[in-house]
Subunit: 199 residues, 2 copies
C-alpha cells in the first residue's frame, strides 16, 4: 500500500515490528527534545533505537516523515489528554484560547522538541502530505471541539474557522521558534486573533 510513505503501525505485522517502530519514534522524540531539529540525526536515531540505518529508512522514508509522524503521535496523545478534561470558558473564543494556551504552553515547555517538530511540519514537501494532513485534522478537531463542546456535528463554517485559527497558531509558533517573537507576544497575538475571528 504505502511505498513512499511511512509505515503506519496498523500495517505492521509482528509485534516486534510495532515495538521497533515505537522505539524509533521514542528515540526521535528524545533526541529532538534534547537538541532540536539538528540533533535528530538519522544515524543517532538508528543507534538509540537499536536499529540499523537501513531499517530506519525502511520504516520512515525520510527525516521529515519521521519527525512529522512523531509529531502526529505526540499530538494524538495530547488530544486524548485534552479530550478527557472539560474545557473551561463561557464563550467559544474563551474555550479556544484556553485550549491554545494550554497546548502552546506545553510546547514552549520543550523548545527543542517544538523546534524540531515545527520545522519538520513546515518543511515537509508533497511526499509527506498524508502525514501532514493527519496532523491538520487533529488540530482542526481539537479546535472545533473547543468551539462546540460535546457536539460532534460541525458545520463547514466551523471547520473553516478552525482552519483559520490553526493557520494563525502555526504561524505564531513558527515566529516563536525562529525567535521573532517571545512567548508572551505569541500568546497575545493568538488571543487577539481568536477574538477577532470568533465574535
Amino acid at each position: 500500500m504505502s511505498s513512499t510513505n511511512a509505515l503506519t503501525s496498523e500495517e505492521l505485522g509482528s509485534s516486534a515490528q510495532r515495538e521497533r517502530r515505537e522505539r524509533i519514534l521514542d528515540a526521535t522524540i528524545a533526541l529532538a527534545s534534547q537538541g532540536g531539529f539538528d540533533a535528530v540525526q538519522m544515524r543517532a536515531v538508528a543507534e538509540q533505537a537499536d536499529v540499523a540505518l537501513g531499517t530506519l529508512y525502511r520504516y520512515f522514508p525520510s527525516k521529515i516523515h519521521l519527525l512529522v509522524t512523531a509529531l502526529a503521535r505526540e499530538f494524538e496523545r495530547a488530544e486524548k489528554v485534552l479530550a478527557t478534561r472539560a474545557i473551561s470558558g463561557d464563550t467559544s473564543a474563551d474555550r479556544v484560547i484556553t485550549v491554545l494556551r494550554r497546548t502552546t504552553r506545553g510546547l514552549q515547555g520543550d523548545p527543542h522538541l517544538t523546534d524540531a517538530l515545527t520545522r519538520a511540519f513546515m518543511f515537509a514537501d508533497k511526499s509527506a502530505a498524508q502525514e501532514i494532513h493527519a496532523v491538520g485534522m487533529l488540530l482542526t478537531r481539537m479546535l472545533t471541539r473547543a468551539m462546540h463542546p460535546g457536539i460532534d456535528e460541525v458545520s463547514d463554517d466551523d471547520i473553516a474557522i478552525a482552519r483559520v485559527i490553526g493557520d494563525v497558531w502555526l504561524s505564531a509558533l513558527v515566529a516563536w521558534v525562529t525567535g521573532r517573537s517571545t512567548a508572551e507576544e505569541t500568546a497575545a497575538h493568538m488571543e487577539r486573533a481568536v477574538r477577532l475571528i470568533l465574535r
Copy 2:
C-alpha cells in the same frame, strides 16, 4: 556590523560588489524558478553567478539566508508594482482580497520559485530573523495599505489584523506548495478568512 547576516547592498562598497550580489540573487531566482528549493544548490548558484563558492558564502552565510534575501527582493519589486496601481474594491475586505489574489496568482504562476521561497521562509531559524522580519514588514505594509488606501497612519489594531491575514496567507501558501490544497481551494480559503476577519 553584520557578521552572521547577509550583506545588504547598502553596506557593499564598490559597484563591482553590488553587481556580484545582484548576479548571485539573479542566479538564485533563476535556479529556484526552474527546479524549486532543491535546484538551488550552492555550487550551481556560484557557477551561474560566476563567483567562487567561498565568495558566495561571504555574501550569504547560508542557503536559507540566500533564499530569504532573494524572496525579500522579489517582494519589494512586487510591492512597488502594486503601490503604483490603485486597488479596486469598495470595502477593506474586497481590496485585501484583490491584493492577495493578485499576489497569489503571481506566485502560483511560478510554482517552483514559490516552493523554494516559501520553504526557505518557513525553515529559516533565528539567524535569519532579520531577513524574515523584513519580509514580514513588507507583507504587513502591503495589507494595511490595501485596508486603508492612501493612509500611512495605521493603528495597532490594523497591524494586528494585517498580521493575522498574513499568517493565514502564509499557511495557505504552504498548504498549496506541499500539495495539500489546490490553487482554487487556497484562494477560497483565503477569501473566506479575510471576510471572517475584516467585517
